[in-house]
Symmetry: C2
Subunit: 418 residues, 2 copies
């Protein structure tokens, strides 16, 4: 069952905001076996919105429209929908009461723009009439249109709770479509292209997708069929082929982020961790603590941005910094040992490097990073060279550090470079 | 001068990746006074790509196409372009030599997909022939098409260095279009809607846009005219109207992030800062260190995720934690004092709270956060209640903490709630 997405807003055509609404909707639809053939974004411009609504692709059975249902000046979707789909506007009393109640609860007063929000095209059915956030749907020539607000949280809520369930109930005879996501870290694009070559003829009709997602690489396997167990079994087989080729570069075979994988492994192994961060400035701790329940295994960290803080808080010796520099194997190791002792954790990780754009030298150019590791058994470190701008170097450093923990806990060798 | 953007890739129609390429291109084009009327995303599907290329909007004079120029299985843009625009493919020798050189430099070998990359539609002109990354352009019926790779960094590079300069040279007689961006923190949407009401009649023909950008709110002012100094003067006047209404809620009147604004203020005032983070886990330090040169004013931080680390590293008294809890005014103040002393900085900031989803209580529900501040003159703290999911609570907490520093350095009152 095919459909399309139309997103409305000057913020999209002027580059003010990335179009995360179509991204979210497309992902949810794909996961439900509903395919999106096209996403069209237009500005708050009557001609363009109208054209987009009128030229829905001939094969589309549903259209998700987001944006333009708010209360500011750019909001004119209802009027344009009314004109484009030839459905005069009328004030929806249920909607008006809702808006009044909402405004009253916030201690504000009704204004003309708020009154405008209660006008709906004829034949429209409110989505979520009893909730805080509403949208509406209407059917025109066998095409089901869903109009949702552009505010991401509101749009997502209505999409998940109302639009998807309705679509799935309308189109019951879907073929089975299943997708698997494989996330890799540490393999270059040409290496992945080679792997795709090797998979030729072994993919059982699966469509493979490759998506660089800095600093990760993602591979998707999509398979369609009549019978779910067969589709799943075939997916498993293609996935096993890929796993045999890329082995321990795969950190997730689902939607999990690296920090979630690391968190799960730490929990399973009953280990705790702490981090001493220089060039990443707190990013590793931030990522670890994005995971609910991370306080069970993350003891804490020190962001030792200055040399003095490395000495004061991590007991790195002033002599080491003087002799080898703050960006060195020796300092990384002392930082890892220091944070582990300070935090009384099983593992201590440390990073020190040059994120740029300044501070590089011939010996240690921008992107040079040392990662240090300390457990009860061993202390070691390794030098890396990351590329890109400051934020990319920080991100790659955090990724490699988390990957160290993942590989250590899995008993896999740590990557020597990427 | 109007144009449009077409982005190609299954990752876009299946929700694997947000469409950041169109976002980037649209932003750059808008800033140059070139307007984008439509963005269309289609999957790696011959019919849909072909349809998108053939149905370029009648008023479009340029089309930016991204995606499909790589080496994996989904790449078929060139062939489809050749068919859709009726321009047979031929092997471009310059391109073939480039690819060979590139592959050789990486120690890899030429493969059929790499050979395929050298086929270009007739009349195509290579973009950046001497560089690592290429695209091509061609003209059909007065419409200039630019085909760029889908890898964001490559696409951005070609866009900035080649496409934009060419477009600007082709269409010299542009009217002057200028946009101003105003970023606010701490004002609710209804309050901003009221401000828009008050601006009615004072906007001198400017188009105002309002964009929630959690946890920030952005207002854009767009003005068009013949004469740049006049457009700028009018923009200044509208901006002054807005500033008189929203005052110190505005943290940036350009593209600067909050952490850049805070960094500039710290530099101007010659102050240094350190942070003690509990619920944010390192996010504040991460944000501060995203700014190049932040080592001049950011001394470092402690991520005191456990109670023990608050005691050991920040000298919070065990008695305080026992009596008032780790999430309390008293603990926040002791953390702020502790980090300031530890790091020997002018300002010490601290956050402690409940990011959820667990850990809340009736007295201190999820989203309860205490922020603490310590300078040579004063120590104080305040309680906040933030809403949303874990990551949103963390983000809002980091934003409020940075806003404290901004307001303190500007001599403005600190927000009591949002």
């Amino acid at each position: 069952m095919k459909g399309e997405i139309i997103t409305i807003g000057n913020e999209l055509t002027t580059g003010r905001t990335p179009d995360l609404n179509s991204w979210y909707a497309a992902g949810k639809l794909a996961a439900s076996g509903l395919s999106v053939t096209r996403v069209t974004s237009v500005g708050d411009d009557e001609e363009m919105v109208s054209h987009a609504l009128k030229t829905v692709f001939e094969s589309s059975r549903f259209v998700i429209v987001t944006g333009g249902l708010g209360s500011t000046d750019d909001d004119m979707t209802c009027r344009i929908v009314a004109n484009a789909l030839d459905r005069p506007l009328y004030p929806d009393h249920q909607m008006l009461e809702k808006i009044k109640a909402h405004v009253k609860a916030r201690g504000a007063e009704m204004t003309p723009p708020l009154h405008k929000m209660a006008l709906l095209p004829e034949g429209a059915i409110m989505i979520n009439p009893s909730g805080d956030t509403c949208g509406f749907s209407l059917t025109k020539k066998d095409v089901r249109f869903y109009f949702l607000p552009g505010v991401p949280d509101q749009m997502r809520h209505l999409m998940d709770k109302f639009v998807l369930p309705e679509l799935l109930s309308l189109y019951e005879t879907l073929p089975v479509v299943r997708q698997r996501l494989i996330k890799l870290y540490g393999l270059s694009e040409p290496r992945i292209a080679e792997i795709f070559e090797k998979l030729q003829g072994k993919q059982m009709g699966a469509v493979l997708g490759f998506y660089p997602h800095f600093p990760e690489n993602h591979i998707t396997i999509s398979l369609q069929g009549e019978d779910e167990p067969i589709v799943i079994a075939e997916l498993d087989q293609v996935q096993a082929e890929i796993m045999s080729l890329v082995g321990n570069y795969v950190f997730s075979t689902g939607n999990q982020e690296m920090e979630e994988v690391v968190g799960r492994l730490l929990t399973e192994r009953g280990k705790t961790i702490s981090v001493a961060e220089s060039c990443t400035g707190g990013l590793i701790g931030h990522r670890l603590t994005n995971v609910p329940g991370s306080s069970d295994y993350f003891c804490g960290g020190v962001v030792s941005y200055s040399n003095q803080s490395k000495i004061d808080l991590l007991e790195v010796s002033a002599e080491t910094i003087k002799r080898y520099g703050a960006v060195s194997d020796e300092t990384a190791q002392e930082m890892a040992r220091g944070i582990r002792e300070r935090m009384n954790s099983d593992l201590g990780l440390a990073v020190t490097g040059i994120a740029g754009p300044d501070g590089g030298s011939k010996d240690k150019p921008v992107g040079t990073v040392y990662i240090g590791f300390c457990s009860a058994e061993e202390v070691f470190s390794r030098r890396y060279r990351f590329w890109g701008r400051r934020k990319q170097i920080k991100l790659n450093t955090s990724m490699m550090t988390l990957d160290w923990v993942r590989r250590y806990l899995n008993g896999d060798p740590i990557l020597s470079g990427i």
